[in-house]
Symmetry: C2
Subunit: 302 residues, 2 copies
């Protein structure tokens, strides 16, 4: 089968063998925002045409391609949900020459009934379930729950139990970082440059101190004004401050967190998780491919 | 004497009589960012020339005009400080035809030694001290401390005792609101329109619920996505969320807060203060003029 992780700004297709291993892959910048109106079928065919010609006839898509701005809107499936529940809720898409199905996003609600949404992350989490189960068994019977974090513009923290995503919470940290850097006086004191691990750690440590994030943010300016934070350090400090606040709020005490996403960003989150007393394990980059294989394997293609 | 509140984007000059009452006033958009290099003296003379010609010979300036980007940099004076301490630390500026002095900003540091800075707000606080003292006496001997809040891009919460500013904290709420609205997906769901008091109150109430601000921010998107928050309501909700978080963090339990600033913004803060169990009093618009009169009256002009 063919699995496609089709997000807002990226397109990643995998040709998967029966065991779920990646046999071939295609990546491009053709995220859904770059697809012209009515152009989803053509974009897909252009990317995976050779595999279809070679006999593949099952295609599973996950990510924002199933959103209102995507190809077809796939209604959210409520948590708790695992591969079986997701596979039973796939949405069929008309396509000439292959069966094409869409993974629904997962919905949830926090303790005060504010809605949560994800699209694509559920597939990546399904792709690391074997590892989560193995780690939980390694920790013994106490660890009945596992935690996955998918850092990004809208970071997700998911609680997993019995191979199902039980609940999750979203934090706007990545987008807030970009907006604060690009749109406030804080950014005017920042020069571009390499990541500064020491400044990042200072930001994380600051997040552990008393005071609200909105107060801590002003400190980015005053520390710079007083010569205690250099212009080349400020961006890493702000990043540490925001990631630190997120991890402090989201991390269950002492938990082992499985990080799924871009390796550099996962590394930053791992540092923050450890700083707040947790443990971190960074997953490999093929979580989405394995999740697509697992969901596709549980689906009814007849 | 003449008092001038000269900020980043505004210029307000007052001709003050001996009692400190405003005899005449001039306002313009000639904030320090619009003054050409080397043009501070000329800008000032153009605005207050007629008063100088009428015999005024003492000019007191407060605000960002005393910053590194201003006319002359006036070093920060550390808290605690009142009118006498500030008056003793004025910085003289060369000007032909009148004595011109600059009010220094006030510095402070929070419990973890992160610096705080203000320029201009100290003068406004000095301008409401009589009212603060009267209110404290009204509340009886228990109320030895008074609280002032100056909402804005960088909101200040100041603790006052014995007519001196003892300490203060800054919150980046106003700038964060603008950056989040202008630079994230949250803003793309917002239409311009009148302030929506009900949506604002919902945002304030949300700030009282469990969960970090970074998580609450994502709810602005999901509530919109689910049709539970209209595009015309979202901006007011986001404003309530940020102001609510600030007030929740900054408000001492049950305190009476004196709000100084733009009347509409002070009204929003008053609503949030009351929602979190405090009391609010909105000061009139001439706090800066009275503060300049009080500091000028305590200064040595010989």
């Amino acid at each position: 089968m063919i699995g496609v992780d089709w997000g807002t700004s990226s397109f990643r297709a995998f040709r998967l063998n029966h065991g779920g291993a990646v046999r071939d892959r295609v990546e491009s910048g053709m995220g859904i925002l770059r697809v012209p109106a009515g152009g989803f079928a053509a974009t897909l065919r252009e990317a995976i045409g050779p595999w279809l010609a070679a006999g593949e006839d099952r295609v599973l898509l996950s990510g924002m391609v199933g959103s209102r701005q995507g190809w077809v809107e796939a209604p959210y499936l409520p948590c708790p949900a695992g591969a079986a529940e997701i596979a039973a809720a796939l949405v069929e898409v008309a396509f000439d020459g292959a069966r094409v199905k869409l993974v629904p996003g997962l919905s949830d609600a926090d303790q005060t009934d504010t809605p949560e949404v994800m699209r694509g992350e559920e597939t990546q989490i399904i792709g690391v379930l074997d590892r989560l189960v193995a780690d939980a068994e390694h920790e013994g019977p106490v660890a009945q729950e596992a935690w996955a974090c998918l850092p990004g513009s809208h970071s997700k923290w998911a609680r997993i139990r019995d191979r199902r995503i039980v609940a999750y919470r979203t934090y706007l940290s990545g987008e807030a970082f970009a907006a604060l850097r690009g749109g406030t006086i804080l950014g005017r004191m920042m020069t571009d440059g390499p990541h500064d691990p020491r400044a990042f750690a200072r930001g994380v440590a600051r997040a552990a101190e008393p005071g609200h994030l909105l107060h801590h943010l002003f400190g980015v300016r005053t520390l710079g004004l007083m010569g205690r934070l250099g212009e080349a350090e400020s961006a890493s400090y702000l990043s540490g401050l925001l990631i630190g606040h997120e991890v402090r709020a989201a991390l269950p005490a002492g938990a082992l967190v499985h990080l799924i996403g871009a390796p550099v960003l996962c590394g930053l989150y791992a540092d923050a998780v450890v700083a707040f007393g947790g443990q971190a394990a960074i997953m490999d980059a093929d979580a989405a491919a394995r999740g697509l294989a697992a969901i596709g394997g549980a689906a009814d293609w007849t």
